[in-house]
């Protein structure tokens, strides 16, 4: 699907073993505000890399620097080994899907998609033909070609934005939370399509979002950002299974975090021998419940406060000595609010973090 006349020049061809994008100590401050502090990262060729962080964590600033729309105050950015830190955005073989999508609202769908080709001086007939192809590729269909973008629905606009960046044949695509404004089902559909598109084109995608769930579905690797720093980088399984801080763990959704001191969980009054001081993370599905209040069994006593049936599973809110805890059990579990239970977990299910 890559037209020969649009391919990149020699010096930006992929080189084996070289990172597509290498971020070397990127920092950005706005006056006294440090938006990014020394972010270093290698993004591999053909990788779907997602940066996850709460709002204000600096992820948009980072993406704007990668796209050339902003300049770092310190550090370097290498594209396949070439320093592009100060290169203007229109000179970079990258393209970005903006959070607001930033479609040209005085133009038609076709003109939006053909924009990058127009900027390269490609003849109208040729760019129109390419725009129609791309509209098919993003499942909009060529009949949208003449429609004004202002008359498109949210999902359609999303696809127009995607076709528009694909038209510039970018080596690397950036996505700034483009799906956040869509409803759940449409978002799910587009996540899967985006992933499939990335696989099919073999391009490097860098995606930012505040939703770890979204990141888990699409990414090869995930980087977690907090206060302008990259706090953990790893595969979705690594981030999910071995978060290295409470922050990362709580970002994963609802988890139980308990304090560890002197080989014990003081809040639950349970021993946890051999565990250094810090915290343990307990996933809701790691908790086991036994109804009734027989003492002597391992674990701690808790009262079931709320029961939520989530279809594939049942989520319980437990009143425990450590406060509210969350457990998830198979859907067929029969338990009612108000019941008392003995709660336990396998010691190896408790994942330790220092902070």
């Amino acid at each position: 699907m890559i037209a020969a006349d649009l391919s990149m020049t020699q010096d930006s061809r992929p080189v084996l073993g070289q990172a597509a994008l290498s971020l070397q100590g990127l920092s950005r401050s706005f006056g006294s505000l440090q938006a990014l502090s020394s972010v270093s990262l290698d993004i591999e060729e053909g990788e779907f890399f997602t940066i996850v962080g709460p709002s204000g964590s600096g992820k948009t600033t980072l993406l704007r620097i990668l796209a050339g729309l902003d300049q770092p105050t310190e550090g370097q950015l290498l594209l396949r080994g070439r320093d592009i830190t100060r290169l203007a955005p229109n000179k970079r073989p990258t393209a970005m899907v903006f959070q607001s999508l930033a479609l040209f609202d005085h133009r038609t769908v076709g003109e939006n998609v053909g924009f990058a080709l127009k900027m390269r001086g490609i003849a109208k007939a040729k760019r129109d033909a390419r725009a129609r192809e791309l509209l098919e590729l993003v499942r909009l269909g060529a009949e949208y070609f003449d429609k004004p973008v202002t008359q498109c629905s949210g999902g359609e606009r999303q696809r127009v934005a995607l076709a528009r960046v694909l038209a510039s044949e970018p080596e690397i695509l950036f996505f700034d939370e483009p799906l956040s404004a869509l409803d759940y089902r449409l978002r799910k559909t587009l996540e899967v399509e985006l992933r499939a598109l990335q696989k099919r084109t073999g391009r490097t995608f860098v995606y930012i979002t505040h939703s770890l769930e979204e990141a888990m579905v699409m990414s090869d690797r995930i980087g977690i950002m907090r206060d302008g720093q990259l706090v953990q980088v790893g595969s979705p399984a690594e981030i999910y299974g071995r978060p290295d801080s409470r922050f990362v763990a709580s970002f994963m959704g609802e988890v139980n975090i308990l304090k560890v001191a002197e080989g014990r969980l003081p809040e639950l009054d349970l021993p946890l021998p051999g565990t250094p001081d810090g915290y343990v993370v307990l996933r809701p599905e790691a908790l086991r419940l036994e109804e009734g209040t027989e003492t002597g069994a391992p674990g701690f006593a808790a009262r079931v406060a709320e029961v939520f049936r989530l279809g594939s599973r049942v989520q319980l809110h437990l009143e425990s000595p450590a406060g509210l805890m969350i457990a998830e059990l198979p859907a067929e579990t029969q338990i009612r609010p108000g019941a008392t239970a003995r709660v336990s977990f396998a010691p190896e299910a408790a994942h330790w973090v220092a902070e």
Binding site: L103, F104, M119
Partner: protein, 259 residues
Amino acid sequence: MPRLLRSLWLTLILALLYMPILSVVLASLANTRYMRFPHRTWSVGAYTDTFSQQETLTLHLVSLKVALCVTLFSVILGALGAMAFARYDWRGRSIYQKAVVLPIFFPQPVLGLALLMFYSALGIPPSWKTAIFAHMVWILPIVTLVISIRLFGYDPAQEDAARDLGASRWQVLREVTLPHLAPGLISGGLFAFLLSWSNLPLSIFTTGADTTLPEWLFSRVATNYAPVVSAIAVIGTFASVILGVLVLLGLRLSRARAG
């Protein structure tokens, strides 16, 4: 029945709106030195006089020079000012937004006198050039407002997107910013031209030895009336109507070609 009432109402409003213009047309067709009706004799002498006098040409030229300069400068400055407060968030932005429209509320004759005193304090002799500045003090806020209305619904990320897709700064201006602003620039420009063209209170104080059309019309109506005054008014009105229609047609044509 309500339909009949409604059309009667509409006719009445239109009649009230156009009656004064019609009366000026009638006045221009007389040969008397007083406005009176019915005419004893009808005459188009006022029109032939208008076209044969050098003075009327000079009047129009002075007004035209002033109005065109005011339009050009107001649109440029107004566009920049509108962008400053519609696109960027900066300290004092909301104060600027209010301060910029304040001159509209200042009584024009007082403003004109103040400007005249200001010029003489600086030792600048008043002429049609100083009138340009005087007009702009009053007209620029209006133009800025008109253009900024266009900019409020504008997503500046469009410019970033265009850059990102390979557009140079100049291409961004030509392909994204200007097309978006164009309707605002055109309506702002029309406002600027018409307000300057018809301005009397500021011109009286600030044109010095030069005379604009409204100044001349005012003095002739007040002291030395002749049907030429009405004839010039009628010619001016029709010229504006024709110009307006041409601009509209031109816009529609260019839009049809673009689409």
